[in-house]
């Protein structure tokens, strides 16, 4: 009875939400109807914010991937916050699982020989792919978060194949702290050079080249290393064997 009531309530809420969102125009807005004050150009324009990003993003940030331009340049401070949230989550999982792990040790059972050999072969390729995703974040789809997740999944493969494997906590901590310091340090240099945090102070270079878009590749490499080491820390806390 309770389940049926809950299901009917959920369906009603979905219908109301659908009706509420039905009137919001996605995509085909008539942009000329709106007028905004644009602080960068210091005048009234008919540009909405997404239209401004699409039109001027490449010139203002040097990045050909507009999503990266928004994530790292226009909304760089939000990205710092997201990385901090991930760091806190990793720390929480580590502290909880450490207490849990002390009481009960996992039974160690060797994996298949096929899996061991193949994971040895594939590990380097997966790391390379993750590094490719975040190094080319300003040119092609991808960036620090998916790249870091791919790197963490390569470590997950090693944990699954070798039950006794565990990552060096000291080097994970060093990589993570260095990446965070790089992010904040680049932002502070921007604060010194111009008057705002995360100012893009390096020359933009030619678009579509690897060394372009100023500080965006540096920040994205830092985000990738940071996310990768944090997620690896979570995986390690969940299934690492301590001896």
């Amino acid at each position: 009875m309770k389940r049926a009531v809950a299901a009917i309530l959920a369906i009603l809420i979905f219908i109301v939400l659908g009706l509420a969102f039905a009137k919001i125009p996605f995509g085909n807005v008539n942009l000329e109807d709106y007028h905004y004050y644009n602080p960068i150009q210091d005048k009234q324009t008919s540009d909405s914010v997404p239209a401004h990003y699409l039109k001027e993003g490449k010139n203002e940030t040097g990045s050909t991937n507009i999503v990266t331009a928004v994530v790292v340049d226009y909304r760089g401070f939000d990205t710092l916050g997201e990385v901090t949230v991930l760091f806190l989550a990793s720390t929480g999982v580590g502290s909880v699982m450490y207490i849990f792990e002390k009481e009960k040790r996992r039974k160690v059972r060797r994996a298949n020989a096929v899996v061991e050999t193949a994971s040895k072969l594939l590990f380097g390729f997966i790391i390379l792919f993750g590094a490719y995703i975040f190094v080319h974040g300003h040119l092609t789809p991808g960036g620090g978060f998916p790249g870091g997740a791919v790197i963490a999944s390569s470590f997950l493969l090693l944990y699954l194949a070798y039950p006794k494997f565990h990552a060096e906590h000291k080097s994970l901590n060093v990589a993570e702290s260095l990446a965070g310091l790089t992010f904040v340090g680049v932002g502070l240099i921007g604060l010194l050079v111009a008057s705002y945090f995360l100012y893009n102070f390096l020359p933009f270079g030619l678009p579509t080249y690897l060394f372009s878009a100023g500080v965006i590749p540096i920040i994205y490499v830092a985000v990738g290393v940071k996310v990768g080491s944090e997620l690896t820390g979570i995986v390690d806390a969940m299934m690492g064997v301590r001896e």
């Binding site: 994996a111 298949n112 096929v114 899996v115 193949a118 994971s119 072969l121 594939l122 390729f125």
Partner: protein, 114 residues
């Protein structure tokens, strides 16, 4: 379009057709096979062959895509058997019985020899 391009694209479509035929066979086998291990066999062997054939055909359609599709094919060749062996071993260890008509069980024989 000269005759090399034409013949290459015809060959490419033939390979894509063969690949999709094997993928279809794999999905029929997934429905028809009696137990986990036989299903695993169709889901990896026939699917690997079908995917490789489709990738080769796509590479023939446009020769610029050939290196990329060959790299993808290499990774499918590397990963599909490993995943299948891990899955089969895990399901054997968790106690899923073989089909009644199975004649050989090498894993059990090896265990008994030890």
């Amino acid at each position: 379009m000269n005759w090399i391009d034409l013949s290459l694209s015809i060959l490419g479509y033939i390979f894509i057709g063969i690949g999709s035929f094997f993928l279809l066979l794999a999905s029929i086998g997934l429905l028809r096979m009696p137990d986990v291990y036989n299903r695993m066999q169709t889901a990896t062997k026939a699917t690997t062959l079908g995917a490789l054939s489709v990738l080769f055909g796509v590479g023939l359609l446009n020769l610029h895509w050939m290196p990329k599709s060959m790299v993808i094919a290499l990774f499918i060749l590397l990963t599909a058997p490993v995943g299948a062996s891990a899955l089969a071993r895990a399901s054997y260890k968790s106690g899923i019985a073989l089909w009644k008509g199975s004649v050989v069980d090498k894993y059990k024989e090896e265990k008994e020899e030890e």
